[in-house]
């Protein structure tokens, strides 16, 4: 029995994703070993006795051979056991699951904001090339892309929190009101999204201009199809492919960027979790958190790859021809 080309494509992407995850896990394990500093000594501080350091090293498994530690780590990951936090003794999975929703919310809010603002800007610029809006948009977009996120964050806080007192700075809110939580999401999400708004707008403009020059669009125009319909129903879907690809990578970058946003805005999340863990060489937490980020990143890339089948029907046809 032979599988359909689309299923084979999905299968091959899945295998690649699993391989990437395995390589990333091994690489991650190796990298944590290269970081200087004895985790037990860092954890216990200046007043630790050699006996305490030794006992902690044993508890963290640092006295075992490297290969054994790697195999134990991989075996545990496969069983869904990400280890225990060496400081609190709590399962690392619990710690990660506790804060992951905050990071995910922040990342999705930033992506949402970038798409909601970047796509219309890109479309308008592409349909009005050379206009003052297009020219101002180009300069602004490049400025947004070039500005480091932390600088944007500080300016946003200064303007909206310190001077205007409109938006809060710290945390995710207390008391459970969604209004408060949403309000506290605005500044961190905006500081993450701003460069992506510019990026998406520029990218979409360029690819939309290219698609609008293609033969099938000219044919549609010749048949008298309304311009709005041509742009938003025919051209945008094709022009969105590079943007979707970039957004797929962007999820990973935004997850990484969320670390800075969580530190600057004192929000809970994977960023603050890994930041604290690195400072005290809490390896199980560092490894688990980075593994989750790598997992989300590769999964998003897989979904991005699969989305091409829907966005560009020509890909499905090409897979069929190659059979």
């Amino acid at each position: 029995m032979s599988l359909s080309p689309k299923l084979r494509y999905v299968g091959s992407r899945l295998v690649t994703t699993l391989l990437v995850l395995l390589c990333a896990t091994i690489l991650l394990f190796g990298l944590t070993l290269l970081i200087p500093g004895n985790p037990a000594e860092v954890l216990l501080g200046p007043r630790a006795t050699p006996e305490t350091v030794q006992a902690y090293s044993h508890a963290m498994g640092l006295d075992r051979p490297l290969l054994q530690r790697l195999l134990i780590f991989l075996g545990n990951v496969l069983r869904g056991d990400l280890g225990r936090d060496v400081i609190s003794g709590r399962p690392v999975l619990d710690l990660v699951l506790e804060v992951f929703p905050y990071t995910l919310t922040l990342t999705l809010a930033a992506i949402g904001l970038a798409v909601v603002l970047g796509v219309p800007l890109g479309c308008y610029a592409a349909t009005h090339p050379g206009s003052w809006f297009d020219q101002v948009g180009a300069v602004t977009s490049v400025a947004f892309i070039a500005m480091p996120n932390f600088v944007v964050a500080v300016f946003l806080v200064l303007i909206f929190s310190v001077w205007l007192h409109w938006l809060p700075v710290l945390g995710v809110g207390r008391g459970g009101g969604w209004g408060d939580a949403a309000l506290r999401l605005i500044l961190p999400a905006l500081s993450l999204a701003l460069s992506w708004i510019g990026y998406i707008a520029r990218l979409l403009r360029a690819s939309l201009l290219e698609v609008l020059g293609e033969a099938h669009i000219r044919t549609a125009r010749a048949y008298g199809v309304p311009e709005r319909r041509i742009v938003y129903r025919n051209a945008l879907k094709l022009a969105a492919i590079p943007t979707v690809a970039i957004l797929g990578l962007g999820v990973g970058r935004l997850l990484g960027g969320a670390i800075f946003a969580e530190i600057v805005f004192a929000r809970p999340g994977l960023g603050t979790l890994v930041y604290d863990a690195i400072a005290v060489r809490n390896y199980p937490v560092v490894q688990a958190t980075v593994l989750v980020v790598v997992g989300v990143f590769t999964l998003t890339n897989l979904l991005t790859d699969l989305s091409y089948l829907w966005l560009d029907p020509r890909l499905g046809r090409r897979l069929g021809e190659g059979r």
Partner: protein, 520 residues
């Protein structure tokens, strides 16, 4: 002109009602109530919340607010006053007797505090932890033999030898706090149990800990002492000092430590006050006396003469701290008032270098921790030593890597290190790191001086204050003669807060008395 039509007013009222119902906070309109204060802490709680196993001052400050000791520090000083104890008397060098105030009840229904709880709390330091490890702060009670319970409220603390530092470093501090034996045995104080329970008899209870978000302390309704000024103290982990400063300016925080270099700028803000305390910590540049060319006393002396400490402090701390001339800070027992106050003299330094066989200087490395202030110190020192031909490479490391670099055999390769240790009220705490047995651990200068070791050991084991003072000054003279220590500063603690708040901080700057924060 504004149109106040009926429709507009009704619309605005409806919008307000809907937003209020959803928890919309209206930051512009919000008025900061004076029953609750939000204070910044540098990180979240970690580890267990018991006195012997606390990780550091953040946990210690919380336990101190929830639990009582026999005695406690007065705000802003290292003087102590009675707390849970009605009396506390040094009977002999090895015996301290106590009597508890009756009626001190542990919250959460864990009953009245008795002498059994005191015995349990102090002897817990000698017991291995649940994982079989020695407790992190076991050394604090190393001199304890046992606690003898003589009545419901009375007992004797029996020591193996005289331990004067107990009165300043242990009994009024976090290691002297009394926890409930019953609550401990019921699994309280453990951070791996959610919700965490910390049971004490203090002015506040630990009402809530939301990991990575906040710690909420609420006034203890059963507290018999002076009523705390605030019904609620919220501790907000803010890892970035700049964020804390901005949050203070946005009135989301009412109190935060600030970097000395930022103090002048923050002081210009209206509705913000600064508290500046000279600290008892110590920052110095240490030279590895085992490694050439620093094994030559003339080289060490030359470097000391080349570094203009006042210039370093003006650049790195914006002139907010005073120079240090010896290990003990002013005000501490053993403070050496007549310590030499050398003036920088690059010409004399060059001459000494030439005499030591290095007329053209040499190359070396200064290891320091990655913090803006320390990096600024490193750069200024680099420039100053460059003037006498000593080329300094800066090795800037993150905390974990930095703390590893002077340990064990790797410490033999250190040239110079910029170091900073926290001080405590008793000089025994300060001198303990510089003895020969600490080589390869915390004595990164690898300085071995039996006379220093003898003087500090003797001073730590006698109660005669005058003699202790003399011995500690003697010990510091030995340090000075070694030339291995270039003292920079005892630091200053600077805190920014709302003008209506009166904070309560101990002189080391790390220890806070949250229960004694009041309105100005």
């Amino acid at each position: 002109m504004t149109d106040f039509s009926r429709r507009r007013i009704l619309g605005a009222a409806a919008t307000t009602a809907i937003l209020s119902a959803t928890g919309f906070p209206f930051p512009v309109l919000a008025q900061q109530g004076r029953t609750s204060i939000t204070l910044a802490i540098g990180r979240d709680i970690q580890g267990l919340l018991t006195p012997p196993e606390r990780i550091g001052p953040i946990e210690g400050n919380i336990i101190r607010t929830v639990c009582q000791g026999l005695i406690r520090f007065k705000p802003g000083s290292f003087e102590w006053e009675l707390s849970a104890a009605k009396t506390l008397t040094q009977v002999s060098d090895t015996e301290i007797s106590f009597e508890l105030n009756p009626g001190l009840t542990f919250h959460g229904g864990y009953g009245e505090m008795t002498a059994d709880d005191v015995k349990f709390s102090f002897e817990l330091f000698a017991k291995p932890t649940a994982d079989g490890k020695p407790a992190g702060y076991a050394k604090d009670w190393a001199s304890l033999d046992h606690v003898e319970v003589t009545g419901k409220y009375t007992g004797k603390i029996m020591l193996k030898s005289a331990a004067p530092q107990l009165w300043l470093v242990v009994l009024p501090d976090n290691s002297g706090l009394i926890i409930s034996k019953k609550a401990f045995e019921a699994g309280c104080y453990r951070s791996d149990q959610q919700p965490i329970k910390v049971i004490g008899t203090g002015a506040y209870t630990l009402a809530e800990w939301v990991p990575n978000q906040r710690v909420v302390l609420k006034a203890n309704p059963d507290w018999k002492g002076e009523k705390p000024a605030f019904a609620e103290v919220v501790l907000q982990p803010v890892r970035d000092p700049k964020t804390a400063e901005l949050a203070l300016r946005a009135n989301e925080l009412q109190f935060t430590p600030v970097e000395p270099a930022d103090a002048a700028e923050i002081e210009k803000e209206k509705d913000t006050k600064l508290l500046r305390q000279d600290s008892i910590n110590y920052v110095w540049i240490g030279l590895n006396v085992e490694k050439p060319p620093f094994d030559n006393p003339k080289v060490r002396q030359a470097l000391k003469l080349a570094i203009d400490v006042e210039q370093v402090l003006a650049g790195a701390y914006n002139g907010t701290v005073k120079p240090a001339y010896a290990l003990m800070a002013p005000g501490l027992l053993g403070y050496w008032a007549d310590a030499p106050k050398p003036k920088a003299d690059p010409a004399a330094a060059k001459k000494l270098l030439a005499e030591a066989g290095h007329p053209n200087g040499f190359k070396c490395t200064l290891t320091l921790m990655s913090k803006p202030t320390y990096q600024a110190i490193g750069q200024i020192v680099q420039a100053l030593l460059g003037e006498i031909g000593v080329q300094v490479d800066l090795q800037v490391l993150d905390a974990a890597a930095y703390y590893a670099v002077g340990k064990g055999d790797s410490g033999k390769n250190l040239d110079m290190a910029l170091q900073r240790f926290g001080g405590k009220a008793d000089p025994a705490f300060q001198t303990q790191w510089f003895v020969a047995s600490q080589i390869g651990t915390w004595n990164w200068q690898r300085w071995n001086d039996p006379q220093f070791d003898d003087a500090s050991a003797k001073a730590a084991s006698i109660n005669d204050k005058a003699e202790r003072n003399r011995l500690y000054i003697e010990a510091q003279k030995r340090m000075e003669q070694s030339g291995a220590y270039i003292w920079l500063t005892h630091e200053a603690n600077i805190f920014a807060f709302r003008p209506w708040l009166k904070p309560a901080v101990l002189p080391n700057g790390d220890d806070m008395l949250y229960d004694r924060f009041t309105t100005a």
